[in-house]
Symmetry: C2
Subunit: 348 residues, 2 copies
Amino acid sequence: MLNDERPSRTELSELGEFGLIERLTRNIKLVNSSSVKAVGDDAAVIDHAGKLTLVSKDLLVEGIHFDLSYTPLKHLGYKAAAVNISDIAAMNGKPTQLLVGISVSNRFSVEALDELYTGIRLACDKYKVDLVGGDTTASAAGLFISVTAIGVADPGKVTYRSTAKENDLICVSGDLGASYLGLLVLQREKEVYKANPAMQPELEGYDYVLERQLKPEPRTDVVELLGKAGILPTSMIDISDGLASEVLHLSKDSNLGCRLFEEKIPIDVVTADVASEFKMDPTTAAMNGGEDYELLFTIDLDDLDKVKAIKGISVIGHMTSKDEGEYLVSKGGSMYPIQAQGFEHLKD
Amino acid sequence: MLNDERPSRTELSELGEFGLIERLTRNIKLVNSSSVKAVGDDAAVIDHAGKLTLVSKDLLVEGIHFDLSYTPLKHLGYKAAAVNISDIAAMNGKPTQLLVGISVSNRFSVEALDELYTGIRLACDKYKVDLVGGDTTASAAGLFISVTAIGVADPGKVTYRSTAKENDLICVSGDLGASYLGLLVLQREKEVYKANPAMQPELEGYDYVLERQLKPEPRTDVVELLGKAGILPTSMIDISDGLASEVLHLSKDSNLGCRLFEEKIPIDVVTADVASEFKMDPTTAAMNGGEDYELLFTIDLDDLDKVKAIKGISVIGHMTSKDEGEYLVSKGGSMYPIQAQGFEHLKD
């Protein structure tokens, strides 16, 4: 039963996150007719009795996804719940339940976990989601949070990544790039603090970008607004890894190309100001920053007027045929190939 | 948003695992009518459309739940899936889907994760469960596995922990204590190896207890057999933390007491032999060892003949009124109070 065989070694960094997931899940064959959609979208889709149950799962790992030196535990709990609720929204579903697994070293006190759970409960209250289970256990070091979100959707109303059509309009909710700049502000103040612990962090004027980083809000309201407007997106994904990475998911999975127009990408004025302070192009923050948790979706051309009537939705481009490739058209009219440079924790 | 308030500090060890879960989940109010059962059982129960969806979540953490120096990764993957499938079986449900979250440091190669997933897929194949999603991410150190199992059950057929009745018979599947003794064998051989790496581990003759530790099998077959026999257990739980801990769960949650009879506890002859080698009472291994993943359940007295006709089920005691307490009646006829001394990782 035990053996010392040592297979050849491939470093995780050689594959990257998506390559790894593809490799680990490529041999999966589904045997239950209730398994409507398995890996490869924001959530799994399960048909247990007519209505569809959506299930998503995300891990948050200390030292990788969060740094407790500038992340209050209450915010961390809120965010852990929020990002999973966002996955259900990205499937055009209504989030209903949450399960939370926490693995924690004895460096943490009970009061620290209380704080974390307070944040989780705040998000559950706000989004009317029930915390129905989970697991709490020790870890040798660090804090690991594993959240499973469950939701429900009507058959025929679930939005996948793979169903965009050529000429569909690409839309995005809210504004982009702020969360990443909030992270840069927090990292800068941490360095200042490390250099001189007597210094108070200077966070005034950065409220918006900090809030976007520390307390992201899943756009369940957008799902409702689209439903009320009679719009069924042809594909949808939430923006966790940056606009570039997500639009490539929609394009690749739908076997299409895309055009994004830089001037159409919604960026808040505060985001632009902070970006300029960091000598960063705000478009770069929007394309590659990630963690905005806005919804990116495609709609049929016929739905353009309906979507224009919804406040806070921007039309930022359109899908093309596959051989036209994936390009960002700059404000000056140049074409830049879109490349995923977002979330690549496994390449660290 | 950020503050340095330091609340009073309570160590995790002061509460223990169950105390901690109770504390973290005590303020939870359910808002969705589909949330049939939340925390406090083997799995959550969700009613999305008539049939019930069961969802369970368990974490396995390196250095806490497993030691990679003697746990082959393929076995670990199998076990991670198996223990979650067991949670669904413990609710009298049929497991249907699995989501797997893995957080891993770059100490691990891609081939190592392949091995882990091979084990997960083996368990999925054997138990006809679909792997439908998950998350793979980096960790600063160590390997964390978070599995969510989903299952289905007919309304009225789900077995909870809290519904045993006075005088119900207490039954258990298979035999107990072997898994813990398998762990002791592995730990002993690890010490031998550390003292002298040239020594080969002596594992011959220990196959049964090692297999029970490294490759536990969830008892979905027992769920089927009970169903075919027309037996609906009045309560059920799986044995992850030892018979003592689990029977106390059924008693406490059902507001009852219990009597277990030592001579009725099923123990394999190999388990008894290995126990004597370790100068351990095999009853202690059964009561407090854990990780047997057998099903512990109660039935109405009227179902005694039906359950006796099923091979591999032992009747080991009965439920009493609460004021009669929880006792183990020894082979000599003495009464010992039952105390949970099982899984207490948080007290380490």
